[in-house]
């Protein structure tokens, strides 16, 4: 099957991007190079095409009740035009997907989901909706352009009359960007300040080009999925399919803060409550290498001569210049400062447990 193309596919080709297939989509992995793009986002600003992400709307008089059932987070806490990171679980507590819920109105939610999970998520939502709310897959209607980095607000403010400084982190507003109606959200996956712009698919190129033109003075660069991955890992964000999946629960993944048992039952609440009482057997931790070597997905983690876990994401941190990873270990090995080792090509390279994020932007 031919991979999907985003509305910006031709733009990427003309920028000389190297394309890869990701989650069923042809996406840019890098334009000039992962490191340069990574550093540009940390130092100035970068522009991302995230149109492969899915957007599913849940609306109508029963939307609130449906969302309370689907997500582990208390929906009542999400104010109108606020954004909330959350997960959907299976009955056994395993994770269906991690999402951002944008509450657009009292009974209208836009759920941004991972590209590869779009069909699964929609099916899962429909199964639990049981016809109560309007469930609409709007993924093809929306393109998603992200502008991330310390210069993001300065650039974007030249393209909109809206006061961007009034939008706090994890809040959004409906406005116009370069004359295009846009859901402007102060969200991102990089650890930097920035915005995600949900725009009509057919107007995506206009918004992209406008950001590029206005950003030229700030040396804005297009950023591919390669740097998106290193940026999110430095910031300690999880990647579905690597760090979380159907065999991990939010409690194991360190997402307890998202799980609000007090809001009533949701899919998976019984299993998670039981797990909270019984205790978890594995826990997601940050790992920083103390010797030379790059931890990678699937490498084993050792405590003394015991294999205790496995790396789920790893890279060489472009900002820190050392190997960093996320991985699961037993709670007995999960305290910050615990010495561990990662097996890299049959050698045991010393490492230590640290609390993510690995890199924090200066305020």
């Amino acid at each position: 099957m031919e991979a999907n193309r985003t509305p910006l596919y031709q733009v990427h080709r003309s920028l000389g991007a190297r394309m890869i297939e990701f989650g069923g989509w042809q996406m840019p992995v890098h334009y000039t190079g992962i490191l340069a793009e990574h550093r540009a986002v940390r130092a100035q600003v970068g522009l991302f095409d995230l149109s492969h992400m899915g957007e599913i709307e849940i609306a109508g008089p029963r939307a609130y009740a449906v969302c309370q059932e689907l997500f582990v987070t208390d929906i009542a806490r999400i104010r109108i035009m606020q954004a909330q990171y959350s997960v959907m679980c299976y009955a056994d507590g395993g994770i269906v997907d991690d999402v951002i819920i944008y509450r657009l109105a009292e009974e209208r939610y836009l759920v941004c989901v991972n590209a590869a999970n779009r069909a699964t998520d929609y099916g899962w939502m429909a199964e639990h909706n049981r016809g109560r709310a309007d469930l609409i897959d709007r993924s093809d209607e929306y393109a998603l352009v992200a502008i991330q980095g310390p210069q993001a607000q300065a650039i974007l403010s030249q393209l909109t009359s809206h006061d961007l400084s009034a939008i706090r982190r994890y809040w959004a507003t409906q406005g116009e960007v370069a004359g295009v109606p846009t859901l402007v959200a102060r969200t991102g996956y990089t650890g930097e300040d920035g915005f995600e712009l949900f725009v009509p698919a057919e107007r995506a190129e206009r918004v992209w080009q406008a950001c590029g033109a206005v950003g030229r003075a700030s040396n804005i660069v297009p950023v591919g999925l390669g740097a998106r991955d290193t940026l999110r890992l430095e910031a300690g964000y999880l990647l579905y399919g690597n760090d979380i999946d159907t065999r991990t629960t939010p409690l194991e993944a360190g997402l307890q803060r998202l799980v609000h048992f007090e809001a009533g039952s949701f899919v998976g609440s019984e299993a998670l409550r039981k797990q909270q009482t019984d205790g978890i057997e594995k826990q997601l931790v940050g790992i920083k290498m103390e010797g030379a070597g790059i931890p990678r997905h699937g490498y084993t983690i050792w405590s003394g001569d015991q294999e205790v876990g496995v790396v789920t994401s790893g890279t060489q941190s472009p900002m820190l210049g050392v190997g960093i990873a996320l991985g699961y270990v037993p709670p007995s090995c999960a305290d910050s400062g615990t010495p561990l080792a990662v097996a890299i090509r049959n050698r045991y390279i010393p490492a230590v447990v640290v609390k993510p994020p690995f890199y924090r932007r200066s305020k």
Partner: protein
């Protein structure tokens, strides 16, 4: 893509330069570094290590991927470019120059006959790219 005429090339994208009779300098090609992207880590053998043609003898890692480096010829490692351990990005910047990996005393110079000329290598890469585009 650049492929200097004086070198010989392997299908695994290593180059060999023979200046003295039995002494071969080995590196990875411009095409290889371009495919890898930003190189951030290199693992090389110690002096006196024995290399066997077509067997892995080291590792280069880019941000995204781990790749074995295969020996284009068999022999004994005489010199190792330890500078690369601290500046792996040299492999992207100067793959045919400062980023040589090791110098090897060859066991059997006739092994060179199995390698490609620059022209053959360029054609080989073109075919590989066409396959990738399909």
């Amino acid at each position: 893509m650049e492929a200097p005429k004086e070198l010989r090339y392997s299908q695994e994208h290593e180059w060999v330069l023979v200046e003295e009779e039995n002494l071969a300098t080995i590196g990875i090609t411009d095409y290889a570094q371009d495919q890898l992207g930003d190189v951030v880590f290199v693992e090389l053998p110690e002096p006196d290590a024995q290399l066997t043609q077509d067997e892995p003898f080291g590792v280069v890692e880019s941000v995204k991927a781990v790749s074995d480096i295969y020996a284009p010829v068999s022999g004994t490692v005489k010199e190792v470019n330890t500078e690369l351990l601290n500046t792996p990005e040299t492999i992207n910047e100067d793959p045919y120059g400062d980023a040589w990996l090791v110098q090897v005393e060859m066991n059997d110079p006739e092994e060179l006959d199995a390698l490609m000329t620059a022209e053959e290598y360029e054609r080989f890469v073109e075919e590989e790219q066409e396959d990738a585009d399909e």
